[in-house]
Symmetry: C2
Subunit: 620 residues, 2 copies
Amino acid sequence: MLATVRWLIFGSPLPTSAEAHQRLGKLKALAVFSSDALSSVAYSTEEMLLVLLAAGSAGREVLVPISLAIASLLAIVAVSYRQTIHGYPSGGGAYIVAHDNLGKWPGLIAAAALLTGYVLTVAVSITAGVAAISSALPALGPYRVEMCVLATTLVAWANLRGAKESGTVFSIPTYGFIITLMTLVVVGLYRSISGRLVPLPAGSQGNVVGPTEALGSVLILRAFASGCAALTGVEAISNGIPAFEKPEAKNAGQTLVAMVILLASMFLGISFLAHGLAVTPVEGETVVSQIGRQLFGTGPLYLLLQAMTALILILAANTSFADFPRLSAILARDGYLPRQFKRLGDRLVFSNGIIALAVLSAVLIIIFGGQTHSLIPLYAVGVFLSFTLSQTGMVRHWQRVRGGGWRYKAVVNGVGACATGMVSLVVLGTKFARGAWVVAVVIPLVVLWFDAIRRHYGNVADELSLEGMVPVAWHDADTEERRKVIVPLSGVHRASLAALHFARSLSADVKAVIVDVDPKDTGAVLEKWRTWGRDVPLVVLESPYRSTIGPLLQYLDEQDQRDPDRGLAVVVLPEFVCARWWHHLLHNQWALLVRSALTYRYGRSGEGRVIVGVPYFLGK
Amino acid sequence: MLATVRWLIFGSPLPTSAEAHQRLGKLKALAVFSSDALSSVAYSTEEMLLVLLAAGSAGREVLVPISLAIASLLAIVAVSYRQTIHGYPSGGGAYIVAHDNLGKWPGLIAAAALLTGYVLTVAVSITAGVAAISSALPALGPYRVEMCVLATTLVAWANLRGAKESGTVFSIPTYGFIITLMTLVVVGLYRSISGRLVPLPAGSQGNVVGPTEALGSVLILRAFASGCAALTGVEAISNGIPAFEKPEAKNAGQTLVAMVILLASMFLGISFLAHGLAVTPVEGETVVSQIGRQLFGTGPLYLLLQAMTALILILAANTSFADFPRLSAILARDGYLPRQFKRLGDRLVFSNGIIALAVLSAVLIIIFGGQTHSLIPLYAVGVFLSFTLSQTGMVRHWQRVRGGGWRYKAVVNGVGACATGMVSLVVLGTKFARGAWVVAVVIPLVVLWFDAIRRHYGNVADELSLEGMVPVAWHDADTEERRKVIVPLSGVHRASLAALHFARSLSADVKAVIVDVDPKDTGAVLEKWRTWGRDVPLVVLESPYRSTIGPLLQYLDEQDQRDPDRGLAVVVLPEFVCARWWHHLLHNQWALLVRSALTYRYGRSGEGRVIVGVPYFLGK
C-alpha cells in the first residue's frame, strides 16, 4: 500500500540507465532556468520607484537612466557568463570556476553565496507570487504564510517527480508570461509613438507622499542596488549545463543569449512605461498591474497578465530547485556537504537537495512572515558575490589555459568582475542595516561548516585506510575454539534458548549471565536452568542499586581482563521482536539498552565488542 | 558530570537493602496520607454554599444539616475502611479488595476509578492552592497555569527523592494547617458561646445575587454532592499500609481514626461558622479567608492561616504521589499496566509512576486553564465508585473468610457500600452535564486498555513458553562448518576487514556482497578485493533503481532457498562508530538500514535472521 501511495505521488522509479534521456531541449530549458531571471521584471522596477519617490515625483525622472545602467550591467554579465559556459562545458557554476582557479576558500565562499542565494530566491519568489494572488483576492490575505508553504511544497513535489516533467509543467506559465508581458510593452510603445500615452493624474492611485529626501547620489545608488534584483538568476544556465541536450555548451550559450535579450527588453519596457504613465507604487496594487490596467483595461487580457505574473513568480522558485540540488551534489562529491546529497532518488533527481531547499526556504518564509519587502535586502548580496568570484576565476582561467584570443577573453571577464565587484559593495553598503548583514554573517558560517565536514571525512578515510597494513591469515579453528561467549539473559524462554543454541555453536566456552534485581524472578530462572542450561554455567550478578546494565558491563570488563590474549568476549543477545511496533512500549527494551551500552563501551580505546543479535519473532 | 547533576537533584542512589527502613511513623504517615482529605476543608463548605445560595440567603439555613449528613457518611466510610485495613494488612486498596472478592472486571473498574481520581486530586489541589496564592497576590494571576505546572513539578521532585524525606517535607504544613484551623474553630465556638458571633451585614461582602431557584430537594442533593468532595482522600491510608512502620495494620488503623476525627471537626466547625457569620462566597476571597479575617483580624494569625491553607492545598497532591505509583506498580505486577511501572528507581520509589502522574495532571491543568471550579464536577464520581466497589468486596470477603463476628462486619461494610453507592449515583446524576460525563467515558476506556495490555503479556508468555518443548543437543561442529555467512560491504577498509575476519572465524562458507549503485565506487572495491579478499568470493549485485537494500534482501532470500536445510544465512555487518553522535549525520547509516530491514524481514514466518555487528571505532 505504501508503494502505491509512493507511486501515485512520485511516479514509478526510473532505472539508472534512463539517466541520459532525462535532458532538456532549448525551449524547455529556457522555461526551467529562466523563470527566476524573467520574473524579476515583476518587481524590480517597483523596488527602484519605491526608493526614488522618496525624492518626490522628480525621482521618477532618473528611472529610465538607472534602468539603462542596469541593462548595460546585464549585458556585461551575460557576455562574461557566455564565456564561462564555453570554458566549462561540463557545468561551470561559480563554485567550480572559483575553486579551480582561485583555490579552495574562494570556491567555498562562492558555493555558500550560491546556496544562500537559492534559498532566498525561493523565499522571495514564492512570497511575491502569493502577495500578487492575495492582493487580487483579499480574502486569502490572512493565510499568506500557509499559502507560501503550500506553494513551496508543490514546487518541490514537481521537482521530486523528475527534471523532464518539470520542464513540461513550467513551460506554459513561462511562455505565457513572456507573451503577455511583451504584448503589454508593444502596446505601450505603439501608444507612445502615436502620442496616446498620457501620464495618470497625480493622486489617482492613492496617497502620494511628499519628498522626504534630496535626489542625491546616495538615493540613486540605493535605487540602483534595488534594481539589481533584476540580474538575479542570470547565472542559472551556466550552473545547469549538464541538463541540456547535446551539444550542451552550444545549446546553453544560445539559451542564455535568448534569455538576456528577453529580460532586458521586458525590464526596460516596464521602466519606460512606468515613467511615461507616471506610475506611483501603492499598497495593494503592483506597478505592472497599474500599467496593465491602463493599457489593457480590466478585461480578460489584464486578468491573463495578472495570472501569468503570479504564476511565474511562484514558479521562479523552480530555478533554484533545479540548481540547489545539483550544486549540493557537487559539494557532497567533493566532501564539503554530507554524502546524502549526492544520492540519486527513485526518479533520478537529487531528492535530498530538493527536500533541504524546501525546508530551508519554508523556514525563512515563516520567520519573515511571508513578507517580500523584508526579504529583498538580503537577496542581491550573495548573488553579486558569486558573480564576482566566478568572473575573477575566469580571468585566471584564461591566463592559465591561454589558447586563441585569450587576452581578449580575460579582459571581458575582468570587466565583468570589476563591475559586479563594485555592485556587490554598493548593495552591501546601501542595504547593510536593512538586512544584508544577515547574509554577511551566514556565508562565513556556512564556509566554516563546509570545511569542518571536509575535515571529518578526511579523518574517517585516514582511520579506515588499509595503507601500510599487511594481510594476515584468517582466524583458524583454534581461535574459534578458545573464543569467550557471554549470553545475558532476562529469563529462560524460547528467545533465550535460541540465543543459547547459537552461542554454543560459536564456542564451547559459553557463560549465561543474569542480573539479580528481583530475587523472586532470579529464583525462577535458576529453577528452569536445571532443565535447560545443561553444561552452560549461569552467573548471577548482584545489583544492590537495581541497575540492570552496570553489573553486566563490570562483569564483561572482568572477563576481558582475566584472559586478555583471548580478546574481548563476544556478546550474544536474545532479542524478541513484537508483531506491532507499539507492543515494544510494553517491554523494558533491555536488549536495546544493553546493545547501546555495549556499542559505546570501548569508544575510547578503539576496540569493538562484537554483538550478535538472535531475534525471536512474536506472531501476535 | 551528569552523575553529579543527578546526585544534586535526586540524592545518592539507595541500595535495595535499605528498603525496609524507608517506612513512616504514625505522625509522618498522617502528614503524607491525610493532606488530601484534610485540605478539602478549605473548599468543600464553599462549594455547598455556592449551590445553596441560588435559593437566596434561606439556602444558608440547610448548610449545617447537610454538613452533619456528610459527617455521618464520613463516619460510615471510616468504620468500613478500618475493617478493610485489618482485613487486608498488606495494603488493601479498592483494586485489591474488589479484584480478590468480586472478580477481575470490578477490580479493574475500581483501579481505573482510583487512578483517574488520583490525577484529579493533583489537578484540583494544585489549582486550588495556586488560586489561593494568586488571590492574595493578584499580580501573579496571569501566570496561574505556569505556577500550577511548577508546583506539580516540585511535588513530583520531592517524591522522586524518596518516601522518608517526603514525610519530613510535608509534616510542617499539614500540622501547621491543623493547628491554625482548629484554633480558628475554637475561637469561633468560644465567641458563639459568649454570644459575640454576629452575622456580617448583608452586602458587605460584595454583590449578593437574589434567589434564582427554590430551596427544593434537587438543590439540596446538588449541594450534598458538592460537599462530598470532603470525603475524597479518606481511602489513602488503606492503600498505603505497606509504607507504615510495623505493626502496619494497627498503626494505619489508628492513623485513620485520628484523621477522620480531625477532618470531621474542622469541616463541621467551618460550616457552623459560615452559617453563624452568614458568609457569602465572593469572587476573589474564599469562605475560610472571610471567617479568618472576622475572627483573627488582619494580623499575623490571619496571614498564617492563609499561608497554611495555600500550602496544604498544594501539598495535598502529595497523597496521590504516594498512592498512584504504588497502585501502578501493583497493576503492573498483575500485568494490567506496562512493566516499567513496577521498576524501583534509584531512590527506592516507583519513579515511572511519579513521572506519569505529574505529566497527566499537568496536561489536565493546562486543558482546564488552571480553573478549580471546572475540575470539581469530574472529581467525586471516581472516588465514590471505588468506595462502593471496595466495600461491596469486603462484604464478600467476610462471607468467604468468616471468623469471629463476621456477620456484624459484613453488615458494617454493607451499610457503607449502600451509602456510598447511593452517593455515587447522586453525584453522577447531579453533575453529569457539568463534566462528570468525562469520567464516565474515561473509566471504561482505561479498563479496556488494562485488559488489552494483560492479553498482550499473556500472548507473549504463551509464545515464549518452553512448555512441551524437549531439550535438544547443542549445535555441533558439523553444523558450524556448514553455516552460511554473508558480509554486506560498502567499501574495503579497516571496518569491513574486521567484519570479514570475524565472519571467516564463524564458517569457511563466507561470501562478501556489494550493491552496485555507482560503477566507479564498485570498480574501486573490486580493485582492492584482489589484495584483501583472498579466498572469500565477492558478489556484485545489480541495482538498476539504485536501492542499496532491495537487491541485498533478494540475494539473501535466494541464498536461503538454495539450501534450505542449512538454515538462514548469518549476516555479519561491519559498523563503524563515530566519536561524536552528530558525526553519524554525515554518513549514510547503511549498516543501520540493513539491520532494521533484516530484523523485520522474517516477522511473518516467525524465523529470525541472526545479525552479527562488528563495530569499528573512529577516534576523531
